[in-house]
Symmetry: C2
Amino acid sequence: MQDRMEQCRDAVQQCLNDALAPLGERPVEVAMRYALGGGKRLRAFLVMEGAQLHGIAPAQSVWAAAAIESIHAYSLVHDDLPCMDDDDVRRGQPTVHKRWDDATAVLVGDALQTLAFDLLTRPELGASSQIRVDLIASLAKSSGIGGMVLGQAQDIAAETAMIPLDLAAITELQANKTGALIEWSARAGAILGGADPTALGHYAKAVGLAFQIQDDILDVEGDAAKTGKAVGKDADAGKATFVSLLGLTGAKTRARDLVDEACAALSHYGTRADGLRDVARFVISRET
Amino acid sequence: MQDRMEQCRDAVQQCLNDALAPLGERPVEVAMRYALGGGKRLRAFLVMEGAQLHGIAPAQSVWAAAAIESIHAYSLVHDDLPCMDDDDVRRGQPTVHKRWDDATAVLVGDALQTLAFDLLTRPELGASSQIRVDLIASLAKSSGIGGMVLGQAQDIAAETAMIPLDLAAITELQANKTGALIEWSARAGAILGGADPTALGHYAKAVGLAFQIQDDILDVEGDAAKTGKAVGKDADAGKATFVSLLGLTGAKTRARDLVDEACAALSHYGTRADGLRDVARFVISRET
């Protein structure tokens, strides 16, 4: 699977480089390239593996993979701003507002969101106009006030209220904040292939929650040098996390159960979906 | 024309209310409604008048009109942030970051941008999938790093460098910062009707520049009570404007010439385009 993930990373980076080629060397343009570099490309991998299951070639699906990575990058740049999570380090590098300034970070995030929708209109995606419109509509739902932005607002509201969330509330928050984009990524391949995305959606719901539980575990057990971002932040802030609510052992058990659920949701695809099963296991074994 | 503009304002507000109806009462949701209220709705009017010229009913084109107003509102909310233009008053009301806070303003802008693309996917727009994709692709180009965001970056770079721009540079900056969205608005109606948008594009280029010249004139001559925002800001900041470069009389003459150009570009439509001609004249006679 490491090979396939690496191939996916290379293909997505190449696609993003092509998309950014017309840009110049103004700070905001340089910072866009910077913000789009690196990362695990987990969302891109979900898109491309799901697409392959439905007979869509990587040369096509990589454009949808690049789109979701562009949305993800925009959300990180804005989330790291001093008025939001105020993070100085991301993927082992200074965050955009530290390397440049807050105004550049606002504009870079804005432009990366726009770029994501732009990428879904590109002819290279090779899908019918109706499928593109479906992908664009579902990306808007997953990333906007019905999805990711709602999750971020719920996160800020919880911090402001200083009332720790219970398990149901934190599960809902995370389903919005990180789950919605992961779900879009897994479903995109089926949508591109004109197929029913329900099974991939179930898989992604479980993977998304496992991903967030592992994030909370890494915040406690992780190594800042490996994760490339600050650790212990949530515990220090007295924030409710899956670890504070379930305990470390309980959180690990729950994550493993979710990975089993995710793999089971793919039964209909047989062994062809082993790449997606591997990625579900990777999500809870990763150290970054 | 005042009647038609009022009808357009009502229709757009109704459409936005419908689109926002599923939202709750969290601060970010309340602030989205707040940011979408009021304004001249000039861009919406251009969309709906252009659409009517090509036989598209208001009940359809209003969705594209609402989309461009949502992009415009997002740009204002982010542009008003302390790290950007740092404005406290907009449309006669406290700006979003003053009324709520910076984090809410970042999220509101992000969600409004997403909403714009969402609105262009709605079935109520009634256009073919191919036409929707064309509108989405051109909106991404007009609002992203190839259009509005580039103009904002050029504006910030000019302020940081403290070197006043010359006429060619300020014209290019404004063509990006405000011109691109105005051009999209005017062209959208022809695209919706499957027609050639070139004439409407020429019209909009001239109107967009006249609009910005009038903004600079209002910054010198305007009444803060009427414009609903601070005046004299650019002159105080020693920024190059069309007024500083052309003089007040020269700027007024240039704006009038541009309006004549804009009206001439519509000759092929005959008197059916009188609404658009009126709006061009309105742009340089407005006090807000």
